[in-house]
């Protein structure tokens, strides 16, 4: 992990709310793992004060590139959205503990929505590099909001889309779909993001099928490095309730340990 001044290569809208930013940062591009994040300085001054955590959406070590897919939401991401090619952006990372793959797995299932669509995209790449197949269920409000589909397909994932606008993203329907896929495709592990609904859903499936699972969580951060204990959440570990730091002990956690998704 290190602090670098990355150079913006591209920063374009992918739909009404999300932008895709690619930066040249050869010092860190080779260090990235799926599920890790960068803490990005989103101001030239003291407002907004704190850095913003952003998942690694894509990493291209050969080209020295790191990519982010972000929701333009408040002051910080608006500042980021205004960066133009050639501008510098201050990145600190890669930080945290990413997703992991166990030997012997052949197929994984990824269930993502919202920001999780960015966080989970590189999981398909990680899986493919280790000869593992990915089935991705991507959930969004409308067809326009589906992100990462091409990115995941680029790395061989089979993608299914569920939407609010046609009712297919409704919890019961998604749960039925996931259970069906898990059974039919002999899935070995489940992956999801911090969405409360999806995490609970996948926790139920994992419990009933005995499959291992991983979830990437989000929490407001101070340092991003494990020092300030601002980002803790309660987990169940080693038979007791413990407070763990999302930035340093995660952001990816074992699905069975998560208490409050």
């Amino acid at each position: 992990m290190m602090q670098v001044q990355a150079i913006v290569l591209g920063n374009d809208w992918v739909n009404r709310r999300y932008k895709h930013m690619s930066v040249y940062a050869p010092q860190v591009a080779g260090l990235c793992q799926a599920g890790q994040f960068f803490h990005i300085r989103c101001s030239d001054d003291v407002t907004p004060l704190l850095r913003r955590p952003m998942s690694i959406y894509r990493y291209e070590p050969e080209r020295g590139e790191v990519h982010f897919l972000y929701h333009v939401k408040g002051q910080g991401t608006q500042w980021l959205a205004a960066r133009k090619p050639g501008d510098a952006v201050d990145l600190f990372g890669p930080l945290g503990r990413g997703f992991w793959i166990r030997p012997g797995w052949r197929r994984i299932l990824v269930l993502a929505r919202g920001v999780g669509l960015a966080t989970l995209a590189p999981v398909a790449r990680m899986a493919q590099e280790q000869g593992i197949g990915t089935i991705a269920v991507l959930s969004a409000r409308t067809a326009e909001d589906v992100l990462s589909k091409d990115e995941m397909e680029r790395f061989g994932a089979r993608v299914m889309v569920v939407l609010d606008e046609d009712g297919t993203s409704e919890v019961a329907a998604v749960e039925r779909l996931v259970r069906e896929v898990v059974e039919r495709e002999r899935v070995d592990a489940l992956f999801t993001c911090g969405s409360r609904r999806l995490t609970r859903l996948l926790q139920r499936v994992a419990r009933d099928t005995g499959l291992p699972g991983q979830v990437a969580l989000e929490e407001n951060m101070g340092c991003g490095l494990g020092m300030c204990f601002c980002c803790v959440r309660p987990f169940w570990r080693g038979g007791e309730r413990v407070n763990l730091r999302v930035c340093a002990d995660g952001p990816v956690f074992d699905l069975s340990e998560v208490l409050e998704a």
């Binding site: 992990m1 907004p48 004060l49 704190l50 850095r51 490095l225 204990f229 803790v232 340093a248």
Partner: protein, 328 residues
């Protein structure tokens, strides 16, 4: 090396320079990012007698030029501190200041005795946390309570004692004097300012605990004022802490009367920021022909009476300064 003498002395503890991290904003992780041996000292997160979970989340909310934290001291407890933290810092050529926190005066004394071990260079007493013997007000809100807890601690340890004061008091000078008289070798001014932020969409407080402590650049002018007020009355040195984000901020604290400074929130924005501050302070000294950094302590200059008369029809703000005029 610039040849500038950066050393300062704090209650018998000699530091190679006046810059150190603030408690709760620094931990072992920073050793992966920079060489912490270059700091004047390191200060640990406050350790409590037993392990504590801290407050429920969210624990941080951003505000204009600041942040509110409601971590509530998550601590591994004193045994883990002695087993892991103290040995960890032995590897670095930098004095270790252990910050301690407890809920009663006797607990404070017992903890101070327990942590007075080889490898700990000084104790920083965080008396800004709720005092269970005084209805949850913090010790440092009151001169009497401050004196009571520090006297007890003074009796059980020979280590230099730094009292970390709270800005949430009506009379910082009285509290600082009480700490000095009770045996503190230095005072840290200050901890965070009690604050609150509400999300207007959900109508809920932005931190889980409802209220929390404000830190960052937003609080600097208030704490600089407190350092200045206390410096005029204290004999023991002051460590200034609050909102420092640059070498100029650190120098400002020294001019107001601080002998050393602590950097907190800024490390979150700039992990290696403390080293930039140090380099900037040397550059400032060079630029101003200052050969010993300690010569800046309390060196704020007041306009002469003649200058004031020409700019201010009232001469209430006499030379030497500091007479507070209401509404000016």
């Amino acid at each position: 090396m610039s040849g500038i003498d950066m050393t300062v002395e704090l209650g018998g503890l000699r530091l190679k320079n006046p810059v150190m991290p603030a408690s709760g904003t620094f931990a072992e992780e920073l050793t992966h990012v920079l060489d912490i041996s270059r700091f004047g000292a390191v200060v640990t997160k406050s350790v409590t007698p037993e392990a504590r979970l801290g407050n429920p989340g969210p624990r941080v909310a951003e505000t204009a030029a600041g942040m509110i934290n409601a971590v509530g001291i998550q601590s591994k407890g004193a045994d883990a501190f002695l087993a892991h933290t103290v040995p960890f810092y032995r590897r670095f050529d930098v004095p270790l200041i252990a910050s301690i926190s407890a809920e009663t005066a006797d607990q404070f004394a017992a903890l101070a005795a327990k942590l007075s071990v080889d490898g700990v260079a000084a104790l920083e007493v965080n008396i800004s946390c709720p005092n269970l013997e005084d209805d949850g007000r913090s010790f440092a809100m009151d001169p009497g309570q401050t004196a009571r807890v520090l006297e007890k601690i003074r009796r059980v340890t020979d280590l230099p004692l730094f009292a970390k004061l709270t800005p949430n008091t009506g009379d910082i000078v009285a509290v600082a004097l009480a700490a000095e008289q009770a045996g503190a070798d230095a005072v840290v001014i200050a901890n965070t300012i009690l604050a609150m932020a509400i999300d207007v969409e959900t109508r809920r407080p932005k931190v889980g605990n409802g209220m929390g402590g404000l830190s960052g650049p937003a609080i600097k002018p208030i704490i600089v004022r407190m350092v200045y007020q206390a410096a005029r009355r204290l004999r023991v040195p002051i460590i200034g802490c609050g909102g420092i984000c640059s070498a100029e901020d650190a120098i400002e604290y020294m001019l107001a009367g601080a002998t050393a400074v602590q950097v907190g929130t800024y490390t979150f924005l700039q992990p290696a920021g403390m080293l930039d501050i140090l380099a900037g302070m040397e550059a400032y000294a060079l630029r101003h022909g200052v050969t010993r950094i300690r010569d800046l302590v309390g060196a704020v200059e007041w306009p002469t009476r003649r200058e004031q008369v020409s700019t201010n029809s009232s001469d209430r703000l006499g030379g030497g300064g500091g007479i507070m005029a209401c509404g000016v």
